[in-house]
Structures are given as C-alpha cells and as structure tokens.
Symmetry: D2
Subunit: 270 residues, 4 copies
Amino acid sequence: MIRFLTAGESHGKALTIIVDGFPSNLKITKDYIDSHLRRRQAGYGRGLRMKIESDAVEILSGVRFGKTLGSPLSFLIRNNDWENWIERMDHETKTKNVEKISIPRPGHADLTGISKFNLDDIRNSIERSSARETAARVAAGSVARRFLEEFGISVGSYVESLGGIYPENDFTLDLFDNNLNKKFNAWSLSLEADKSDVRVIDKYQETKIINKIKKAKKLGDTLGGSFIAVATGVPVGLGSFTQYDLKLNAEIAHSIMSINAVKGVEIGSG
Amino acid sequence: MIRFLTAGESHGKALTIIVDGFPSNLKITKDYIDSHLRRRQAGYGRGLRMKIESDAVEILSGVRFGKTLGSPLSFLIRNNDWENWIERMDHETKTKNVEKISIPRPGHADLTGISKFNLDDIRNSIERSSARETAARVAAGSVARRFLEEFGISVGSYVESLGGIYPENDFTLDLFDNNLNKKFNAWSLSLEADKSDVRVIDKYQETKIINKIKKAKKLGDTLGGSFIAVATGVPVGLGSFTQYDLKLNAEIAHSIMSINAVKGVEIGSG
Amino acid sequence: MIRFLTAGESHGKALTIIVDGFPSNLKITKDYIDSHLRRRQAGYGRGLRMKIESDAVEILSGVRFGKTLGSPLSFLIRNNDWENWIERMDHETKTKNVEKISIPRPGHADLTGISKFNLDDIRNSIERSSARETAARVAAGSVARRFLEEFGISVGSYVESLGGIYPENDFTLDLFDNNLNKKFNAWSLSLEADKSDVRVIDKYQETKIINKIKKAKKLGDTLGGSFIAVATGVPVGLGSFTQYDLKLNAEIAHSIMSINAVKGVEIGSG
Amino acid sequence: MIRFLTAGESHGKALTIIVDGFPSNLKITKDYIDSHLRRRQAGYGRGLRMKIESDAVEILSGVRFGKTLGSPLSFLIRNNDWENWIERMDHETKTKNVEKISIPRPGHADLTGISKFNLDDIRNSIERSSARETAARVAAGSVARRFLEEFGISVGSYVESLGGIYPENDFTLDLFDNNLNKKFNAWSLSLEADKSDVRVIDKYQETKIINKIKKAKKLGDTLGGSFIAVATGVPVGLGSFTQYDLKLNAEIAHSIMSINAVKGVEIGSG
C-alpha cells in the first residue's frame, strides 16, 4: 500500500514529505525530483515568490547510494525566504508587533479555515490552504512517476484551454491517431507543453492566450482554464468495479480534485 | 468513522449491504429506505427488469423498534426474479447447459473484467460490474440521508440536460436567488424532479428530451446527460485543506465518479 | 486489500458477513465454511444455545459454480431460534410488554454499551457485544483459510491450559522437534485437539480439566485458560518493519485481542 | 482521524515525523517534546550511542507561537553523529570502500529484511528495523500525550520485572487501593519510575536487577522483562464492540506490540 503525508506552512521553515510503501531497489536521485519541482515553477506570469523559491528537495531517508531501501522516503523542501519570515512564523515566541490578517478573501478557504479551526489570525489558515503545498505533492508524485517508468507507464499533460481559448485542432486525438501503431509515450506531451510559457501545444493558441492574460491582469482579474492529462502503457485491470471505493475513475477524480483550484474532472470525453 | 460495503451479483439471490458507524437512536424505517429505492426505479423508458425488481430492503440488523442501536446495519435487497436464475447463478452446482457469454460489449467492463479476474464467462464479470449495484448504494445512502436530516442538511438533485437539451433558464440559480433569505431545502428539487419522467424541472425541456430519446431508441442508440446535485444546510468547515485526502471537493468527486456511467464531476460552476 | 465487515445481533434474524478483496477462481463451498462453524460449536459444557444454533451459512454472493468471482462474498448465518425472538427484536414495531434488561453484568460491556450509545435497555447493547459475533468471523476467516491453503499455509490451534492446568509436556515443541525435516502441517494440531471436548492434546490433562470445570460450575464460577495458535508454511517477509502499523506481530495481536474474552497475546515464547 | 508516519534510518541524516489530525489551539512546545525524548534515553547501561544522540526535535510545521494550527505537525530528530556517517549512508554517491554487512544476527529482522527487500547489504535493512525508530514515535506520542492532558487523561508506566525479578508487592494495586477516592494520576507512576535507573518503583528490586544485569553483561547475554502501563481519567466508551477492528483492547495490543522487542501484551490481569 502506497501512501504519503505532507506537512508545512507556505512561509514556514520547510515543507516535509513522507512517502511510504514503495519497493526497494528503485533508482531515484535528487536531480530527478528537482527537475519536476522546476517544471512546477515555470510558466508565464509567475510571481516573484516562484523565483525566490527555486525549490529543491533535501532527501532525508529511504534512499541510499541512489536506490530506495523499501523504507519510507522523506524529503524537505526548504523555504528559501525563511530568514524574512522567522518572526512572523516562529513556532514558539510571539513577537509583539506581528500583524494579524483579518480580512478574508472571497473564493479562498480563509473564512472557512478560521471558523473551522477557531483561529484569530487568517494567516494561521492560509499558510496551509495555500497552493504552495502542491510542491510537496510534486516531490511525492515524482517518486510514483519514477516507479511507473519501470513498467513503461508514462503520464503527460498540457493545457487545453485558458480564458476560453482552445486550440484549433484536438492535439491529443491527432497524436493518438498518428501513433496508434508506434510506441507513443504520454510524457512527450509534457515535453512539448513545457516549451510553451502557458503549456499549450498550439503556438497560435499561445499568442492569443498571452494577450488575454495581459488584458485580464490590467483589469486585476484572473482566467480559468482546463488541462488534459494522458497516461500511456497502462495495463488492463487497474482499479476494480467490485466495490465503490476501488473504481479507478473515482480514485483519479479524487486525486485531481484535491489539487487547489481544480473544480472539475472528466474521464475520457467526459 | 462511517463506512459501508456492498455485495451481490446483478442476478444473484440478493444484494447485501452493511453500513457501519452510524450513531444509536437514529429513527429509521424500512418504508423510508424503500421509498428511496422506488425513486431509483422510476423514470421514462425503464426496462422490464426495473419492473420485476420493485426493490425493497429486508432489515437484518442494527435497528430495533424503529431506532438504530449503534451496531452495524445490514440489509438485503432480494432479486425477485431469482427463481429464474438459480440454475445460471448457483453458488455450487454447475448445470451442464448453462451458456457462457463470450462477446464483450464495447464501453463496458466486460473485457477488463474477464482479463483482470481470469474468467472464462463474461457473465462472471458483468454480474458485479452492472449498475444494479447502485440499488445497494441507495439503501446505504438513505441511512446517511436520514442522519443528515437530523442536522437540517438536505440533498436534492435533478437532471440538467439529456441529449444536449438544456432548460431555458438555469433553474437552480433562480431558486437560490428567490430563496436566499428563506429556508430553501435542496430536497424540494428532488420532489419537483420526481414529477417528471426524465427528472427535469422544465416541462418544455421534458417534451424535447422524450422526443429525442424516442428517436435514439429507434436508432438503437443512447443519450448522455448531466445532473445537478445541491446540498443545503451544510455547516462551514466540512472537509479540510490540511491534507490532500481530506478535501471535501475530492471526496465528493470520488463518490460521484464511482457511480456507473458517470464520467465527469464539477463543483460549483466547475 | 482484504477487508470484511460483519453485522447482526445475537438474537436478531441473522448475522451478515461481507468479505471483500479475495481473488477470483478460489474454490470454496458452503460445506467447507459450515465445517468450521461446527468446530466453533463443539466442546464440553456448551450451553443449550449452541445446540439450537447449529450454524450454517447461506452464500448470497461472490461465488458461482463453486469458485469465487473476485466480487465480494456475502453470507448469512440465520438465527434458528428467530421465531421466538421476533417480538423482542423486531426492527420496527415495539410490542408493549417487551421487558427491558436493567441490571448490568460485571465483566461485560453492558454498562459501557448503554452509556456509550445512550440506550435505555441493556439488551440493545449485549445483542452486539455478545460473543455470538465470532460465528460471523469464523465464516469470514474460513475464506482466508481456504485462500492460504492454496499457498500451503496452514493454521492450527489447541488449548494449552484451562483453570491453570497445563500439559505434562510442551506438545508443540515436541511436534516441531520431531518434524523439523518432515512437512509438518499446523492444521494437524487442530484435528488432534478437535478430538478432545476441551481441545487439549494431552488426555491426562483433559480429565483434570473436566473435573475442575465441574467443580467451578457447582460454585457458579468460570475458568480462564490459554490457547496456542501455530502457522506453518508461512513465507519469509510477511508484514514489515518499515512502519509501525505494518508489523506482523502487531497485526496478529490486534486480530487475536479483538476476540471476545481474549485478554493477552504472546508471540513466540512471549 | 489522527494518524502519523515516521521515516528515517538509524544512522541517516535525521528521523522525520509527520503527525496529522490534531486539533488547533493545542499548546505545545519543543521543550515538552524534548523532555520526553530525554526520558527515552535515560536508564542503566545505556550505550555510547544514547549519549551521542541527546535527541531533540526541530519543529518544522503545524505550530505557531506555541499553539497548533490544525495543520499537520512535522518534526526532525537529527542524527548528531551524521558527520561520521555521510559516506556510509549517502543518498546518492557510493564511496568505493564502504563495507557491506553480510552476517545476519539471530533474533533480528536482518535475514527477513534482506530477503523481503532483495538487498545485498544487511545495513540496508537494519537501518530501518533498528529500535532507533522509537525516538520518532516518542515525538509523535508526546503530541498525543499533550492532547490527552487537556481532558485530564494521563498515562504512566514502570518496569514490573527484569530478568525474572519482580517487586515484593504489587505496586500498582497498592496505589489504586490507596487512591481510589483521591485523584490518582497515572503520570505519577512514570515520575516515580524515572528516579530509578531501571525504572522500577521498588528500591530493593532495583539493586537485585542491576546485579543481574551486570552478571548477564559479563556473559554477553541480555535480559527480558515486563512493564506496566496505566491510564487514568479515561472516559467510559472509548473504542467499540460493534466491529472487530474498533475494539479498544485490540487497538492497544496493536500499538504496544508494534514496539521493537515487545513480544506480549496483556490487558487488566491478562
């Protein structure tokens, strides 16, 4: 049974990740994990924070001489800006002049968080509800990705639409049609998408999207979008129809929907 | 912790349901559960099977004198057509002339099932992958519904679209706008939808949908659709942002996506 | 992942068992399960209830033509005395003259049960806390036993001591010493023990124990004891030291200690 | 739901602990946790390693200004001797002259570990199977202890016997008899035991035990023993008899038996 827990506040000392249940003798390196953390930080219009972060894992356990031991893996992703946050986030001493955040933002977990946890400072809530936690998941997920590679299973993704702007053609279908008899590897979709600042495959679409982002930014607005995730090499019979909580579609929906800001999941053509 | 397991083949002797973790002293009756099973069986174009079924639970445990005991509830939903299936579904003796199903249907779990479980008769797979299992879930779910009623929490649903035919107006938004200061109960949506053979609220939409179903039927085709589920009376702070697997959206997506034939879930405006 | 739930009151209509997660194509019969239920009911000084019971399963799902389907198995063990209990245990209607039990027994879950579940009749608690539930576990466990047989894994047990009376020699050690190079099967211990009314291997010990039981009975007292469970054919590497909740010893201790009346577990020489 | 995972090799960089599910606004400090880590390291005949360790947690998340946030807590317990182990335990680079351990010790998980995980160096197994992991559990457990204090629940323990040497009187029973009407706090047992190098309450017993340890040491042998754990202030109704896996006795047995070297658990008078 594979399982993981993450911990860590957005501006805390570090994110902590424990990943449990992977087999021994799986080759994995800090470089491999870091390369996926870097992919998370790329992209058009990324804020200053992303640049300060330049996330990297510190492997604390579970790996020796480049291979897993069967014991749980643990990682830290340090907050590179911690120096500037110690006073505000200290685990023990409260500096007198630390200001509290008191105005909840709409569309965030702010109000829910302070109500649920009976907190008097919205910072106590947003530090964990922040999407920064997804860095921890990328680290955990990259172990899973490494494991799946051993079986020839590959997962790739790209942005399908942003601000309502879709590509001219359905790139995925084309790819599949053209590669039905070749060994198409879903990861190639990610490699292609990574070349674009907004992770689309269609260059014409990219220009239109960036223009729309610029306009939205001026208006102090943001844009929604959608992404496609594809897996190749998947064997028949993953998941099960025998009990409601074993259905693969349901598990996938759970994982994807647990990502901050994701509000919809469709399988196949939905 | 509330949990449940279901068991039972589509044409087996009975569906079995064990529901564990509900508190004691909750009032619940066979009539209440059966009324929800009947709602599942209503609707335009329901086949012969649905009529034979006329599902009803037999309460086996967990309830005494109309109230839960705190111990697990268990139910049977008997197959009313069992007499005609004994030979084909006997748990022990194989009658020589029982025919095997050997042609897997597209879009079903047939091929996956016999591959995964190494079966030589597709019946062995479809008997459990069948949507008949959802009757067991309705029984389990009606205990949850009864429990939520005690807290003034109500869940209702209706069909939003079928075959691409949407209502003229967004009924839900209207309802919310008109009821913001009144006590709007989501269950009233279900009551309204139950009046329609295709569970839509808009009468004009209903006519168009039924016509489209008739056409599809002639062509041996089926139609997809979408439904809206609404919950009212929900307290602030259900679920949690503190760990990926506690997110309420993710849990909801998991549950909904585990229903046979559901291929997409959206939260809010998606 | 193998899991199971049981349900059912001691004098209710039936015990219900759902066993989930066993693979397909495992041969299993009602006779096999019933033979283990009968072993549970044997023994010296068994009360009238045991005789009325003569437990047998009704297989409701998960098995077809003598083999598992991969789908969950479900069983009923009917209460053969249900006729005489309908009025007192009806799930809906309360007959006026049903007497409540109001005096909690020491050493039982009576007081705890009615406090925990806020019940006004001790019967509502004892019906589930009763050791009758172990019949459901024997049914579930016999599926596991059948499964393990396929791998040559065998589990057997016998009574080591009763009322402080131990055998003259350590039977198990002898058996192991004498069989180190032969194929010793732990099940043979059970077969041997089943010949004795008090499930001991040593005949001399048996006589002493039965005499002690008779004396205790006269005084309205009961006797404690201990039993040895042995598994043979177990492969190296079950369980894991990598995380506290995966330790095999811990899992075994959990399972054994969850049996009513068991108050101690030792592994190896303890 | 409270849960935790630990990670870390015995001579790795650090032990990592994530504790999830505790409520917000619980007061907890590094000092509190460290005081329990120190108690783990005390005792007669503790080796050099224990002295090098002088374990202390580094709080990484979940606590701000002395109170929990509701988000997961994470801790590191650094290996103070890491400098001397980097080469042998590096997660990436294998120094040529790192010696492999090839002789498995009896009574340890050595052989099992390398078989289960297909390892070619016993070090890869013993680094996780080592009892050093219990330091991580003490850190996790001290959060639970802090939480229980808020409800007046207290847990204490002492060594009952070592090398077969028991106290003259049953200290616990005396304590209970003398304190039945007073507020007896189980923690006072630990305070009393902590005064003894071998954690016994009876001074006469202590002398005899230390003499026996000295003799065993000369012979290159070790001694087994037993300890008593007592909880006071526990409310009625923890755990449940409604399902096998909810029984409090079973949960306790699981936790205790998961501690390295524990081979038996008894509840009450066993």
